[in-house]
C-alpha cells in the first residue's frame, strides 16, 4: 500500500514537472518570432551568387535559433525574390515593412538592389545591414551598415593593395593594361586603378571599356595580346573574367600577371586558364581567417548545405563570408542594445566594433565604412589562397609569377 502510494506520488510529481516544463517550452515557442525581412535575386542574372546568400542566411538563422533566438524569441527570416531587379526590390522592401510587418531588415544582393532597399529603409527610419554594396560613396543613409569591408575610398585603397602586392613580388610589372566592364561597381575601381598605376609610374599600354553583357571578347583579347602588358587589370564581374580568359586562350595568349575585380569565384578557380590569377578577398578557407570564432563550424555547415543546394563550388569565400558577417552585425546590435529599436542599434554600431569572421569591424568612417580589409588572393593549384599581406597569407603561400 505504502509502495503504491509512493508510486502514485512520484507519478504525480513527474506529471506536474512534465506539465510545467511543457508549459514553459510552450510559452517560449508561442512568443511571436522576430521577423527579419529581405530580398535576394533568386532568379535572373544575379541568381547564381544570390543562392550563396540564401544558403548562408538559412544557416545563420538556424544557428541563431539554436542559441535561443534574439531577446528570448525565435527568429524567422522572410526572403522574397527580387528577380535581380532593383525596382522590384524597392517594392518588396516596402511590402516587407507594411504587409509582412517585419521587425528588422537585412540587405539584398548587389549594389543596385541594396540602393533600392536603402531608400525604403531611410523612409521608414529602419536600420539596414547589407553584405555586398560596392560603391561606398553612394551610401548616404546614416542607418546603413556595410559588411563588404571596402573602406570609404576603395578606388584608391584596393588598387594600392594590389600594386603593393605586385611590388613585393619577384617580378614587379612595368607596364599595365586596364580593361574593364562598365558595370558600375567595378568600373569606378578600374578608373581608380588607372590613377594609382599612373602615380606609381607604371606605363599604361592599353585601356578598354565594354558594356556589361558583351558577347564577343575576341577583339578585346586580340588587343590585349597586341599590347603585351606585364600586368593585366580586368575590371570584370561574374563570368566576364572567364570569358576574357577563354578568348585569350583561343588566340594562344596567356597574360603574365592578371587581376580580376569580382570574378565568379568557383568557375575562375577551377579554370585551367586562370593559373596565378589575382583577386581580392576578405575571407578564405585557411588560417588565419578560419581561426576566427565560429568560422570552422560555419565552413563545415556551408560545405554541406551548398552541396545540397546544388552550388558547384562549396568553398566559403568573399560572398559567403560577407553574408555571414552581415548577420553577425545585426545580431550583435540587437544583443548589445537588448532591443529592436533601430535608432539605438544604429548608435551602438557607430560607437562600437563588432567581432565577425572577417575580423573586428568598425562603422565610424565616412558613409559608416571602416577599414579596407581587402587582401590579395591568387588561384594556385585550382583553389584561391590569400597571398598578400603576409600575415593573412595561407600557410606557405606567396604570390606566384609566370
Amino acid at each position: 500500500m505504502n509502495t503504491g502510494h509512493r508510486l502514485i506520488r512520484w507519478l504525480g510529481a513527474a506529471l506536474c514537472i512534465c506539465a510545467l516544463l511543457t508549459t514553459g517550452v510552450h510559452a517560449q515557442s508561442s512568443q511571436a518570432p522576430i521577423k527579419i525581412g529581405s530580398t535576394l535575386a533568386l532568379t535572373g542574372p544575379l541568381a547564381a551568387t544570390s543562392l550563396v546568400h540564401k544558403v548562408v542566411g538559412e544557416i545563420y538563422v538556424e544557428q541563431l535559433n539554436k542559441r535561443g533566438g534574439l531577446l528570448g524569441r525565435p527568429v524567422e527570416w522572410i526572403v522574397k525574390d527580387d528577380q535581380s531587379k532593383p525596382d522590384l526590390a524597392r517594392t518588396l522592401y516596402e511590402q516587407l515593412l507594411t504587409v509582412d510587418k517585419v521587425d528588422l531588415l537585412m540587405g539584398p544582393y548587389a549594389t543596385g538592389a541594396i540602393l533600392s532597399a536603402m531608400s525604403v529603409a531611410q523612409r521608414y527610419d529602419k536600420i539596414l545591414v547589407h553584405h555586398t554594396f560596392g560603391i561606398p560613396s553612394l551610401a548616404k543613409y546614416d542607418k546603413q551598415f556595410p559588411a563588404w569591408s571596402l573602406g570609404p575610398d576603395p578606388a584608391n585603397t584596393v588598387p594600392t593593395t594590389v600594386f603593393n602586392a605586385l611590388a613585393a613580388s619577384p617580378k614587379p610589372p612595368k607596364t599595365i593594361a586596364v580593361v574593364t566592364s562598365k558595370f558600375p561597381s567595378v568600373h569606378f575601381m578600374s578608373l581608380g586603378a588607372r590613377e594609382v598605376a599612373k602615380k606609381r609610374g607604371l606605363n599604361e599600354v592599353l585601356f578598354l571599356e565594354w558594356d556589361f553583357g558583351n558577347l564577343d571578347y575576341g577583339p578585346i583579347a586580340a588587343r590585349i595580346k597586341d599590347a603585351k602588358p606585364d600586368f593585366l587589370w580586368v575590371g570584370a564581374i561574374g563570368l566576364e573574367g572567364n570569358q576574357l580568359l577563354e578568348a585569350l586562350n583561343k588566340i594562344d595568349y596567356a597574360p603574365v600577371e592578371h587581376f580580376y575585380m569580382y570574378p565568379a569565384p568557383g568557375p575562375m578557380s577551377k579554370s585551367p586558364l586562370a593559373k596565378n590569377a589575382l583577386s581580392m578577398t576578405v575571407f578564405e578557407e585557411h588560417p588565419p581567417f578560419s581561426n576566427a570564432p565560429g568560422a570552422k563550424e560555419f565552413i563545415d555547415l556551408y560545405h554541406e548545405r551548398a552541396a545540397k543546394a546544388g552550388i558547384p563550388d562549396t568553398n566559403v569565400e568573399v560572398q559567403a563570408a560577407a553574408s555571414y558577417t552581415a548577420w553577425q552585425i545585426l545580431e550583435a546590435a540587437v544583443r548589445a542594445t537588448n532591443s529592436l529599436d533601430d535608432a539605438k542599434m544604429a548608435a551602438w554600431l557607430k560607437a562600437n566594433r563588432v567581432d565577425t569572421i572577417q575580423g573586428k569591424l568598425r562603422f565610424d568612417g565616412p558613409s559608416n565604412y571602416g577599414d579596407d580589409l581587402m587582401r590579395v588572393k591568387q588561384v594556385q593549384n585550382g583553389r584561391w589562397v590569400t597571398v598578400y599581406p603576409k600575415e593573412y597569407a595561407a600557410p606557405g603561400a606567396t604570390l606566384l609569377v609566370q
Partner: protein, 285 residues
C-alpha cells in the same frame, strides 16, 4: 586613336565572322517562322538554351561527344517545334500574341533550366574546347569554326530546298497567299507543322553550338535577343541566308570597332549601321 596592326585587325574580323555566324544560326529559325508562319517565336531562344543545357548534360555527365548529341537533340527539338506550332494554330494565336505567348514560354523554359541546373555557370569541357588551327599569325578556334560551317551548310541547304523543291515552293506560296496556295492543293497545316519542326531543330543545333563555345547560365537567354532580332530584320524575314549575312555584318562591324576604338562603342556602330541599312535598302516598306 592608333591604327591597329594587320594581325590584330584580321583576328578581330575573324572573331566577328564567328560571332556573326552564331547570330545567324540563332536567327535562321526565328526568321523562317516569322516570315513564313507569321509567328514571332521568342521561345526559339529558350529552346536553343535548353538544347545547350541538354548537350552539356549528355556530354559532361553522359560522356557523349557533343556533336553526337545532335542525333537526339535534333529530333527532340523538331518535335518541340511541332508541338508549339500545333498549340499556336489550335488557338489561332495572332502574330503579336504569339510574341507574348512565346515570351511566357521562354520564361517557363528559363525557370525549368534554373530548377534542373541551378542559376550557376556551366561550361562544357569537350574534346573541342581549346582546340585551334593556326594560319600564319591568326588563330581559328575549332568550336567557332564548327558553328560557322554548320551555319553555312544549313543556310545554303535550306535556301536550296526553299528554291528548288516543291516543298519549298509550297511554303513560299503559303507565306505569300495561303488561301490561293490551299486552292492549289497545298496542305497548310501539315506544311506549317513541318516548317515549325525544322525551326525547332535549328534552335537545337544552335544550342549545341552555344554549348561548345560559351559558358551557360539561364539568364543568358535574353542577352542574345536584341542582336539576333536585329540580324533577322536586317537580313529579311523568311530568308535562311539573310540573317546569316546580316549577323556577319553586325558581328564584323562590332569586332572591327572594338579593334579600332573602345569596345563599348561597338553596339552603337553596329546598330547605327542597322538603322542606315533599314532606311536605305531598296524596296523597304
Amino acid at each position: 586613336m592608333t591604327f591597329p596592326s594587320a594581325t590584330l585587325l584580321a583576328q578581330s574580323a575573324l572573331s566577328g565572322v564567328f560571332i556573326g555566324s552564331m547570330y545567324g544560326l540563332l536567327g535562321m529559325g526565328l526568321g523562317l517562322a516569322w516570315g513564313l508562319l507569321h509567328i514571332i517565336n521568342l521561345a526559339h531562344f529558350g529552346f536553343a538554351f535548353l538544347a545547350a543545357y541538354l548537350c552539356y548534360q549528355l556530354a559532361s555527365v553522359g560522356g557523349i561527344d557533343p556533336l553526337l548529341t545532335l542525333a537526339l537533340i535534333v529530333p527532340l527539338f523538331f518535335a518541340l517545334g511541332v508541338a508549339v506550332q500545333w498549340l499556336l494554330s489550335r488557338f489561332a494565336v495572332s502574330p503579336l500574341n504569339s510574341l507574348l505567348a512565346t515570351f511566357g514560354l521562354t520564361a517557363i523554359i528559363e525557370a525549368g533550366i534554373q530548377y534542373f541546373w541551378t542559376a550557376d555557370f556551366r561550361k562544357l569541357e569537350s574534346v573541342y574546347s581549346g582546340q585551334k588551327l593556326r594560319m600564319g599569325g591568326l588563330f581559328v578556334p575549332i568550336p567557332e569554326l564548327l558553328t560557322l560551317v554548320l551555319a553555312l551548310l544549313l543556310g545554303f541547304g535550306i535556301w536550296a530546298a526553299m528554291r528548288y523543291t516543291n516543298l519549298g515552293r509550297a511554303l513560299r506560296a503559303l507565306a505569300e497567299d495561303a488561301p490561293m496556295a490551299a486552292a492549289f492543293g497545298v496542305n497548310r497545316r501539315a506544311h506549317a507543322l513541318l516548317l515549325a519542326g525544322v525551326c525547332g531543330a535549328l534552335a537545337g543545333i544552335a544550342g549545341v553550338c552555344l554549348a561548345l563555345s560559351f559558358t551557360l547560365t539561364p539568364s543568358q537567354i535574353y542577352a542574345w535577343v536584341g542582336v539576333v532580332f536585329a540580324a533577322v530584320m536586317l537580313g529579311g524575314l523568311g530568308s535562311p541566308l539573310g540573317p546569316l549575312a546580316a549577323g556577319m555584318v553586325v558581328g564584323v562591324s562590332e569586332a572591327v570597332t572594338m579593334a579600332f576604338a573602345s569596345p563599348s562603342w561597338a553596339p552603337i556602330v553596329s546598330f547605327s549601321l542597322l538603322i542606315a541599312l533599314l532606311l536605305l535598302r531598296p524596296g523597304r516598306a
